[in-house]
């Protein structure tokens, strides 16, 4: 598989900008694996974190084409720097009789939070990187998952340590 790249895009916080960004990806045949958008501390700026795949030349084009959009302020490929990534998932998992304890144990091991309880299910909040979420979901699958909702990847550059 082609390498994943996590890219941060600072954009003007005005209507239509997201569509310019996603339209660019569909129009030029680039992939989007996930996408998160929200306002930054500056209300005039939004930050998009997107995950895409492609070889070096494609990623170079992705970044250059993004920079070419008038409403794009800054683009950083976080994959090239030290950074932290997080995703979140909400999972409604079947929890009856014997499995109630086991589901809670898995939740505990992975530091998930129980955000809703019913007689035959738990809803868990899982936070972590892409791999961790996959690991938890794989373990929970055995018990029966009713529903999953997931965010895309969020990522931030690590601060300098010295």
């Amino acid at each position: 598989m082609e390498p994943r790249h996590t890219i941060s895009v600072w954009v003007d916080n005005i209507p239509g900008v997201l569509s310019r960004v996603t339209g660019l990806f569909s129009g030029r045949g680039f992939n989007i694996e996930s996408l998160c958008v929200a306002e930054t501390m500056d209300p005039e700026v939004s930050r998009i974190t997107l995950v895409t795949t492609g070889d070096e030349q494609i990623i170079e084009q992705v970044i250059k084409q993004l920079r070419k959009l008038i409403n794009v302020i800054k683009v950083v490929d976080l994959t090239t720097v030290e950074h932290v990534e997080r995703e979140m998932a909400l999972v409604k998992v079947k929890a009856e009789d014997r499995s109630r304890a086991e589901v809670l144990r898995i939740a505990d091991i992975f530091r998930c939070r129980v955000v809703d309880v019913s007689p035959n299910s738990y809803t868990l909040e899982i936070t972590g990187n892409h791999e961790k979420i996959k690991a938890v979901l794989d373990l929970l699958k055995v018990h029966g998952i009713h529903e999953v909702v997931r965010t895309g990847t969020l990522a931030i550059q690590r601060s300098k340590k010295d």
């Binding site: 003007d12 239509g16 339209g23 129009g27 250059k64 920079r67 008038i70 409403n71 794009v72």
Partner: protein, 562 residues
């Protein structure tokens, strides 16, 4: 003082130096058209189809080096401009398209003549705007013109809802502009320029491959100085024609699919290729992996995304072509060059051999008019001075091959998008920008029918545009591909055309016809002496092919020759 949106808009246009608008009125732009009656500084040219307004603005922009402006109503008025906008986008032509829009309260309600034109044109404009508040209007128009003409130029669309145009405010006209997310790089990195020049100076078989960037950045003189001082042969893309004089010994002609044998061979054997304001389009490169296989490549372009998009280059230089060439020339001025003529003699001799071995040519006929002959005669009888527009297809390629362009901005052609129906409205735009010049649309009998309705516009506005139809009763270029690659199965390419002479007369223009070679010259002479719009109907050889031709996907040195 409070002004209406319509008044502010026209005031903004005047401040941007706009003298001409190509447009078509409609319900939501009534207020703008009303305001135009009180604005003698701006002349409005009423087209007969909105597509023509966009192409005319494009032709106007190319000929005048100013921003072309089109004004249309909402819905169909706006969608009709899309082809023209997309063409301007592909060719990096600065136009501003003003579209009316339904009142803001109705947007999204499927109102009469409502369309999301900002959404539709997002992928084919450099940028676009929906103005939702009259207080934003002056700023937005200023930004639109700034974005259209700066950096890599392109079309900008501004969507103007009716209530915004009717609302009033005390306008603040911006004096300067700063868009934090938009700062094109003009000045090229001097270290990259020096590296490139070192590579070029060490080259034995250098080739300059130039494109539309030379025209857009007004770099023709700098290119000339650079090419002649280092004796580097020059070829260009379709978009770059006129950027280097077509009668100069260093000129090799156009390269690519219908390029000259010499240009394609030179690129195939070059050891250093200097790409200036060109973008390695598939019609230029042929089979990408075999394009300029022996060359180290320098690529100068103002758009970073053009660099290493198709071809990975050795020395990328981001910036204005003219700045790069000036820096080259300045560096050269400080050097004592060895005897360039001696160094280059062998390479230039090879170039000359190629030129002599396979020049652009065609088989003469005493009985049938050859289309190439018509273009040659047009060139000869206008002393190479006319402004030429073209449609798309064989007419376009013959114009590119046989009219030897002297100056930049002399050729307007839809290069990237390849729009049939571009040439005639574009010629109209050129004639508005250059009222005293000879403007000729070199057309085919197919493509002229795509925007023929503008005949009445040129008649009405006394625009003495000349149309030279190379009438072969075919959609010639498609027919050529059918002949060469589909065993002459002429599917949907033979076509009927109206009697163009009568048609011209019906519109109040002049119609002339030539059916034999000896009639070509008198017809052209008469047309050039007629101070009115003229259609020249040249009945040419129906099955003539544009040659040389590199079949699609083949390497450039594998040409079919005449």
């Amino acid at each position: 003082m409070k002004l209406t949106g319509a008044k502010i808009l026209l005031e903004c246009l005047k401040r941007e130096g706009v003298k001409h608008i190509f447009g078509y009125p409609g319900g939501v732009v009534l207020d703008i058209y009303d305001e135009l009656t009180r604005c003698p500084e701006i002349r409005h040219i009423l087209v007969r189809h909105e597509q023509a307004a966009a192409h005319a603005a494009d032709g106007y922009a190319r000929a005048s080096a100013k921003v072309g402006v089109a004004l249309v109503t909402s819905g169909p008025g706006a969608t009709n401009t899309v082809t023209g906008i997309a063409s301007a986008y592909m060719d990096s032509i600065p136009i501003v398209v003003l579209t009316g829009q339904v009142p803001t309260a109705l947007i999204g309600n499927d109102a009469f003549q409502e369309v999301d034109i900002v959404g539709i044109t997002r992928p084919c404009t450099k940028h676009n705007y929906l103005v939702k508040d009259v207080r934003q209007l002056a700023q937005t128009i200023h930004e639109a013109f700034h974005i259209a003409r700066s950096g890599r130029p392109g079309p900008v669309l501004v969507d103007l809802p009716k209530d915004v145009i009717q609302a009033s405010t005390v306008p603040k006209f911006p004096e300067s502009i700063k868009i934090r997310s938009y700062n094109p790089t003009y000045h090229c990195n001097p270290r990259q320029v020096k590296r490139a020049l070192d590579l070029i100076l060490a080259a034995k078989k250098p080739v300059l491959y130039t494109g539309g960037g030379i025209i857009l950045s007004n770099a023709a003189e700098d290119l000339f100085q650079f090419a002649t001082s280092l004796q580097i042969p020059v070829t260009s893309t379709l978009m770059g024609l006129g950027g280097f004089p077509g009668d100069h010994p260093l000129w090799m002609g156009m390269l690519g699919m219908h390029g000259t044998y010499c240009a394609n061979m030179a690129v195939s054997q070059a050891d250093v290729l200097i790409a200036v304001g060109a973008r390695f389009d598939d019609r230029v490169t042929g089979k990408l992996s075999e394009f300029a296989p022996h060359a180290k490549t320098v690529h100068i372009d103002i758009d970073p995304s053009s660099i290493s998009k198709n071809v990975v280059v050795d020395i990328p230089i981001v910036g204005d072509c003219r700045d790069a060439l000036k820096q080259f020339n300045d560096l050269l001025a400080q050097m004592t060059l060895e005897d360039i003529a001696a160094i280059r003699s062998q390479w230039l001799a090879t170039i000359r051999d190629w030129q002599e071995k396979h020049p652009l040519t065609y088989t003469w006929s005493d009985t049938t008019i050859k289309p190439q002959y018509v273009v040659e005669k047009l060139w000869e009888l206008t002393q190479g001075e006319a402004y030429i527009t073209t449609e798309v297809g064989q007419n376009q390629m013959w114009a590119a091959q046989f009219y030897k362009f002297k100056r930049p901005r002399q050729l307007m052609t839809s290069g990237g998008l390849g729009v049939m129906g571009y040439g005639f409205p574009a010629a109209m735009g050129v004639q508005v920008a250059k009222p005293d010049a000879t403007v000729i649309d070199i057309a085919g009998d197919g493509s002229i029918q795509m925007n023929i309705q503008e005949m009445i516009t040129v008649v009405e506005n006394d625009l003495p545009v000349k149309v030279a139809i190379l009438n072969n009763s075919f959609l010639g270029m498609v027919r050529q591909w059918q002949q060469l690659f589909y065993e002459r199965r002429y599917s949907a390419t033979p076509l009927k055309a109206p009697d163009f002479v009568k048609l011209a007369e019906a519109y109040g223009a002049v119609g002339l016809r030539a059916t034999k070679p000896e009639e070509v010259e008198p017809v052209i002479k008469e047309a050039l002496h007629t101070p009115k719009p003229v259609i020249m109907d040249f009945r040419v050889e129906p099955e003539e092919c544009v040659l040389p031709m590199v079949p699609a996907g083949k390497p450039m040195h594998e040409m079919l020759l005449a």
